[in-house]
């Protein structure tokens, strides 16, 4: 152990004001230096002054009560500040993770018309069964999920897959959403078919790759 480490370890445990702690630290460093110049080894000094805990206990026993009061008050303030800091950081973390939506185009990343056209193209590819086109324009995870089987299975959940011929699109509702630092465009658009009506929720990432598809 070095002199500095020994002294710092002692003073860290002394229950007093910050100013008094620094005063003790400087004085201990100076007096230990004097002892070593006088021929004492650091081991002798540490044996004489005591272990870190013993030395700190000695100070705490002899320092006046008002120093201890200041220490306790400062410690209470520090605990409160640290707790507030933790709460603020946690809240920030939670806030950052929560999705935040804004109007499409606000970030400058997405263009309203392009997003709408791409969403309609996705639905048209679904209608025609062009799964290759869907996969080509999909993000990595989506690409793996898209297959004739999986999409057919999804369609079967609605009207047993019997949509009939496509008739028209409804008005699209579009937002941008940020989640975990990533930006997405989300389109909700209904499509009318001969036998049913489907509401599609289609998500694109910032590169306009299909990254989510939901139908009901």
């Amino acid at each position: 152990m070095t002199v500095k480490k020994y002294v710092n370890s002692i003073t860290r445990r002394v229950e007093c004001s910050r100013e008094k702690r620094e005063e003790i630290r400087q004085q201990l460093l100076s007096d230990i230096s004097a002892a070593m110049e006088n021929g004492e080894t650091l081991e002798c000094v540490m044996e004489r002054i005591g272990t870190v805990e013993e030395a700190a206990k000695e100070f705490n026993r002899n320092l006046p009560e008002n120093e201890r009061k200041i220490y306790k008050k400062n410690r209470r303030i520090r605990i409160v500040c640290e707790s507030v800091a933790v709460i603020v950081l946690l809240s920030f973390g939670v806030y950052r993770m929560m999705p935040k939506s804004t109007e499409i185009g606000e970030s400058g990343v997405f263009e309203k018309n392009v997003v709408e056209d791409m969403a309609k193209q996705v639905i048209e590819d679904l209608n025609t069964g062009d799964f290759d086109a869907l996969r080509e324009n999909a993000s990595g995870i989506m690409r793996e999920a898209i297959s004739a089987e999986s999409l057919e299975e999804a369609k079967q959940q609605i009207n047993e897959g019997d949509f009939g011929a496509f008739l028209s699109f409804g008005k699209p509702y579009m937002v941008e959403m940020e989640q975990k630092g990533e930006l997405f465009a989300i389109v909700q658009i209904s499509a009318s078919y001969e036998n049913t009506s489907i509401t599609y929720t289609i998500t694109f990432d910032k590169d306009m790759k299909l990254s989510g598809l939901y139908m009901k």
């Binding site: 007096d31 000695e58 002899n62």
Partner: protein
């Protein structure tokens, strides 16, 4: 077992002893510890954790004052203490009180000594 009693008894006279030792010339902490040990023939072996609070207390009471010396080459700056006029005036009175206490103790303890 009796360390607590020894500590309490010695604690009462430390302020007076430090004032006395600082009467000759300014001294720093390590010097005071050594001198106190030598002159008391090993009765008063102080640790810094006991001496420093005494010094701080005497300084708060304006009986002593401190000053850091300049660092000299490899030698670190030292915190020197010297007795003030107020301290010098207070010492005889404190010593007088101590003698009275000693007399009172002797009268009680005489039978058992």
């Amino acid at each position: 077992m009796y360390e607590k009693y020894e500590r309490q008894m010695k604690k009462g006279v430390l302020d007076m002893l430090v004032l006395k030792l600082l009467g000759d010339e300014p001294k720093y902490g390590y010097q005071l510890i050594n001198e106190m040990k030598e002159k008391s023939k090993g009765v008063f072996v102080l640790k810094e954790g006991t001496l420093y609070p005494v010094l701080y207390r005497l300084e708060d009471e304006l009986f002593i004052e401190s000053k850091w010396s300049e660092a000299k080459g490899k030698q670190m700056a030292r915190k020197y203490y010297r007795v003030t006029d107020a301290g010098r005036a207070a010492l005889p009175e404190i010593a007088g009180t101590w003698k009275e206490i000693l007399l009172g103790i002797a009268q009680i303890m005489e039978e058992d000594l």
